[in-house]
């Protein structure tokens, strides 16, 4: 919806208008037959109201058109609301306005933190103070980040179009959603109840993206991964304390969500184009479908970590791989892999895992818990 409005009124005006419509939606007494259409109509009217209200003041100081129009800066007059503006014409296969807005938010000319803020603001519809609270940033910082990003989109001429390098852009978008999800996942222990649930938000957006890009196995992989992790979230905390996977009360896991994740992952895998998100989902799936911790299929998990390590070599993945190998083949095998790792000296989980494996191998006398090493294995 925002994309449709943005194409007519420019990003700023559309953004505000959708917020107005959403506020109005809170006052619904009965849900309209077609909420999306209703919301669009309200937002459109609000956009026109707002533009009319602002027009006089703005015209004094600003060149009409240059301020709001993102799409056609030189020709587009956002105040001319009587005339039907051309919708974006695009003959590519991916023609959805909403997808284009998502892709715009993740344009590589925007910094990653701006991509995250814009995606949540423009696609997710979160308010600036909600996003600021979710990322524990001052609202002014976040607001400025969004203003700067919008300004760059407008001034540098970043287009609302499907990019030629679509796969790369989808990767960036998935990266943003994954980051939002992890921010929510890692912040679960915080008592701050006012924080928006970033996990829910990321899942919502990823599922929407799955609808916009049907048949994209990595999008499905990310959805499955998130659903698996979400299904186990309620068991992750007991009395405010973090509970490791091994000790979790598995009766608290949401079997329905796990079933959905299984189905989405099966669809993804059937496409024969494995990627990092699918591989992580496969690992999460093995954990989620183990009825007890001792039922966990560690040899399979170790093997998938091996593939993930080939696809996305990183010290953290290598660490998880080593831990999985230790669980499958014994602590000495895991330790051998850990010894080959470098670049993790500052990573506390490396030392936690190392201590645990040494303890298990009998090389240390005092047993320490596997401090969260497996909590990194989604």
């Amino acid at each position: 919806m925002l994309a449709l409005l943005a194409s007519r009124f420019g990003l700023d005006a559309a953004d505000d208008a959708v917020q107005d419509a959403l506020v109005e939606a809170l006052n619904w007494r009965a849900v309209p037959d077609n909420p999306a259409a209703w919301l669009y109509t309200v937002a459109r009217n609000r956009a026109i109201d707002r533009i009319r209200r602002d027009a006089v003041a703005r015209r004094r100081t600003l060149d009409a058109g240059a301020d709001l129009a993102v799409l056609h800066p030189s020709t587009h007059d956002p105040y001319d609301t009587e005339e039907e503006d051309d919708m974006i014409v695009d003959h590519s296969e991916v023609g959805d306005e909403q997808l284009r807005l998502m892709l715009l938010c993740c344009h590589p000319a925007l910094a990653r933190d701006a991509q995250v803020a814009l995606t949540l603001r423009l696609v997710g519809g979160l308010t600036t103070d909600e996003i600021a609270a979710a990322f524990l940033l001052p609202e002014a910082t976040l607001a400025q980040r969004i203003v700067r990003a919008k300004r760059k989109i407008r001034d540098a001429g970043i287009p609302l179009s499907v990019p030629a390098a679509l796969d790369e852009r989808i990767d960036a978008l998935l990266g943003v959603l994954y980051l939002v999800f992890n921010e929510g996942y890692l912040s679960r222990g915080d008592a701050a109840g006012a924080r928006v649930d970033l996990m829910e938000e990321s899942i919502r957006l990823a599922i929407r993206l799955m609808g916009l890009l049907p048949g994209n196995a990595e999008v499905e992989g990310l959805v499955a991964l998130q659903l698996y992790v979400r299904a186990r979230t309620d068991a992750r905390f007991a009395g405010g304390e973090l509970v490791l996977l091994e000790q979790q009360d598995r009766s608290l896991w949401d079997l329905e969500l796990i079933g959905q994740a299984d189905a989405v992952l099966a669809a993804a895998m059937s496409r024969g184009t494995p990627g990092p998100y699918q591989l992580q989902a496969v690992i999460a799936g093995y954990h989620s479908n183990a009825r007890t911790a001792s039922d966990t299929d560690w040899p399979a998990i170790a093997s998938v970590y091996g593939r993930l390590l080939e696809a996305t070599p990183s010290p953290v993945v290598a660490l998880n791989h080593a831990v999985a190998v230790a669980m499958a083949d014994g602590a000495p095998a895991g330790l051998r892999l850990l010894d080959e790792l470098s670049g993790l000296d500052d990573y506390h989980l490396y030392w936690a895992a190392r201590g645990e494996l040494l303890a298990r191998a009998g090389a240390a006398t005092r047993r320490r818990p596997l401090c969260g090493a497996r909590s990194t294995s989604l």
Binding site: D63, P73, H107, A109, G157, I158, P159, S161, P163, A164
Partner: protein, 118 residues
């Protein structure tokens, strides 16, 4: 929209006509210029002489001018040339920039102000 492409590379000595390999070195540049001139994208451009030829006027706020030998900033990569192009949007400008026949460097793409004051 108009965009300026600012080409920063480690300083190197360009080949001159008659040098061995000059034709091979020039060919992709000729191609770049021809392609983007024919499409109407290329409005202008130029290669700068080495940084050793640079002179900088430094004007302190509220103070006078000092004329200095050398570039504005000593950096590993130096401004070696520029193109002024016309492109529909940033993606089109980036596509042209990405086709620069250079093995390495930083190619900064900046939109020109639409209502210039100068």
């Amino acid at each position: 929209m108009q965009y300026m492409i600012l080409i920063y590379t480690p300083e190197y000595t360009p080949l001159k006509p008659g040098d061995p390999g000059f034709e091979e070195w020039m060919a992709p540049w000729v191609e770049f210029n021809r392609t983007h001139t024919e499409s109407g994208a290329l409005l202008g451009g130029g290669q700068l002489q080495p940084v050793s030829t640079a002179t900088t006027i430094r004007r302190e706020f509220g103070g006078g001018d000092t004329i200095l030998d050398g570039p504005f900033a000593e950096t590993k990569e130096v401004l070696g040339g520029y193109y002024l192009i016309e492109a529909a949007d940033l993606d089109a400008a980036l596509a042209i920039t990405a086709s620069l026949p250079l093995p390495g460097g930083s190619f900064e793409v900046r939109p020109l102000e639409r209502n210039p004051v100068m």
